[in-house]
């Protein structure tokens, strides 16, 4: 099937097998290796991208099912040479070691910063809570980091959070 996606602002057309995931399409066909494959089942978050502005697991999205959508990968976060504030904060606070979960952490954080509403640790459901470290930890728990950089990841995100 022929599908078209906006990837990091650029229309990309590909003739795809309906089985291919958005993640494999990006990595194996479009040359965008930023989104990582860690588990291929939505259990680790390394593949997180923004689909129409919302963070999602690219491994669980069939490419045909997101045809027509706008996809942002980690390659699309920076503006030219100017890093996204999250990218700069991750470097500043050493918020990664091996770097394999990092693109997913960054896309997840970028999506998370714009998400409305409470989380599982929010006390008052009616109020929109600020992004305290506790809120950031809960909201970022879909992105596993085996190197154990969580403490630094939270510090980096907190620096950027409103």
């Amino acid at each position: 099937m022929e599908i078209t996606l906006q990837v990091n602002g650029v229309p990309r057309t590909a003739d795809v097998d309906p089985r291919i995931s958005l993640l494999d399409l990006l990595r194996e066909r479009l040359g965008l290796i930023g989104a990582k494959k860690g588990c291929d089942h939505g259990q680790c978050g390394a593949c997180t991208v923004l689909i129409d502005g919302r963070r999602a697991n690219a491994c669980l999205a069939l490419a045909v099912a997101v045809a027509g959508s706008a996809i942002t990968t980690v390659e699309g976060l920076a503006h030219g040479d100017e890093l996204h504030p999250l990218q700069a904060a991750f470097i500043e606070h050493d918020a990664f070691q091996c770097g394999y979960c990092t693109p997913g952490q960054l896309c997840s954080a970028a999506g998370m910063l714009g998400e409305p509403g409470p989380s599982a640790v929010t006390g008052d459901l009616a109020a929109d809570p600020g992004l305290t470290p506790e809120e950031i930890r809960e909201r970022m728990s879909g992105n596993l980091c085996r190197c154990g950089a969580y403490v630094n990841i939270v510090t980096a995100i907190a620096q950027v959070a409103p």
């Binding site: 939505g42 697991n57 669980l60 099912a65 998400e115 509403g117 459901l125 728990s141 879909g142």
Partner: protein
């Protein structure tokens, strides 16, 4: 993954009209794509219903109508859900991750399948996946599996958090299918395994959930609480959705549903009956919990769920009564 053909339906009736043997409906894909990659789900035809015009949340008189394609995160963030059905909002927020909640639909959440390790591994027997092949979980790893309503054929649990809250809130699903439109109450949508564990629900082939409707919230306070060893992004060991209304020390309304203990969200009707009209005391809560859990038939490695469910019922009701 086995080959299949893919089509995107424009309307619910078009989706149902295109249904034939071997067809599965694709919502957010968070469980179906996962199961297809494992070889557990092997559709020939995939009909994508994720973009059907069923993504609205609207108040209809006293009721709340939630479209089947509403994403989990939108449900939890909706002001009416947060203010009027806090147990539902909290149950959704307790499930999966931010990414998964952004993708998963309400209907897909209800129809997600068990995370029993044998069910998910096509190289091992499983009566749910391969009827008649056996249930190795009974002698093997059943530590996360059912203590209530299980059978000798299957001890799987339903993994949804949201369904537990919906069961406590007496929600109902609206569906359309080859046999026309129907309404099914949510305690009742999911089956107990009996000798046909391959059927998770009472849905018939081709049935498509179009909406979930919640009646006016019952009086009283509501809560959802989930116990898990990892602090986030983990399925429940046991969870509870509860509603309690106490007037002058007497229990008026009481709803209790348990998750992680059965093949379906488990409405604790015995406990509810024992409490309604009686005193709202710790002793009464404990007696009610024990009355409910008398039915439990734990296995060696999931026996902890009985005291856990008991403590959770008592503690949750105490908090709601406070």
């Amino acid at each position: 993954m086995k080959s299949f053909d893919y089509a995107r339906a424009a309307t619910a009736s078009e989706a149902v009209g295109s249904f034939r043997p071997g067809t599965m409906y694709l919502g957010g894909g968070t469980n179906l794509v996962d199961l297809m990659r494992l070889g557990v789900a092997r559709p020939d035809h995939l009909v994508d219903v994720s973009r059907l015009p069923l993504a609205d949340i609207e108040q209809v008189r006293d009721r709340l109508r939630v479209g089947a394609a509403v994403r989990n995160s939108d449900l939890a963030a909706h002001p009416l859900v947060r203010s009027r059905y806090p147990a539902l909002a909290r149950s959704v927020l307790a499930g999966a991750s931010g990414q998964v909640r952004n993708m998963a639909t309400v209907a897909g959440n209800l129809l997600q399948r068990t995370r029993c390790p044998y069910f998910q591994d096509v190289t091992r027997p499983c009566n749910k996946r391969d009827p008649g092949s056996g249930c190795p979980a009974i002698e093997g790893d059943h530590s996360g599996l059912a203590v209530l309503g299980a059978s000798g054929a299957c001890v799987a649990t339903h993994p949804s958090d949201m369904a537990v809250a919906l069961a406590a809130l007496d929600a109902e699903v609206h569906l359309t299918g080859p046999g026309g439109d129907r309404i099914i109450p949510i305690p009742g949508l999911h089956r107990l395994p009996g000798d046909a564990p391959e059927h998770d629900t009472v849905l018939q082939p081709g049935d498509l959930i179009t909406a979930v409707e919640l009646p006016e919230p019952p009086p009283g306070r509501q809560v959802y609480r989930k116990v898990r060893e990892r602090a986030s992004f983990a399925f429940a060991l046991v969870s509870i959705a509860a509603v309690l209304d106490v007037r002058d020390g007497v229990v008026g309304e009481c709803r209790i549903a348990l998750g992680g203990v059965a093949h379906a969200p488990w409405r604790a009707e015995r406990a509810e009956r024992a409490l309604i009209g009686g005193p709202a005391t710790g002793e009464a809560f404990l007696a009610a919990a024990e009355a409910e859990l008398e039915q439990a038939r734990p296995l060696p490695r999931n026996a902890y769920k009985v005291p856990l469910a008991r403590n959770l019922i008592v503690r949750t009701l105490e908090e709601l009564a406070a």
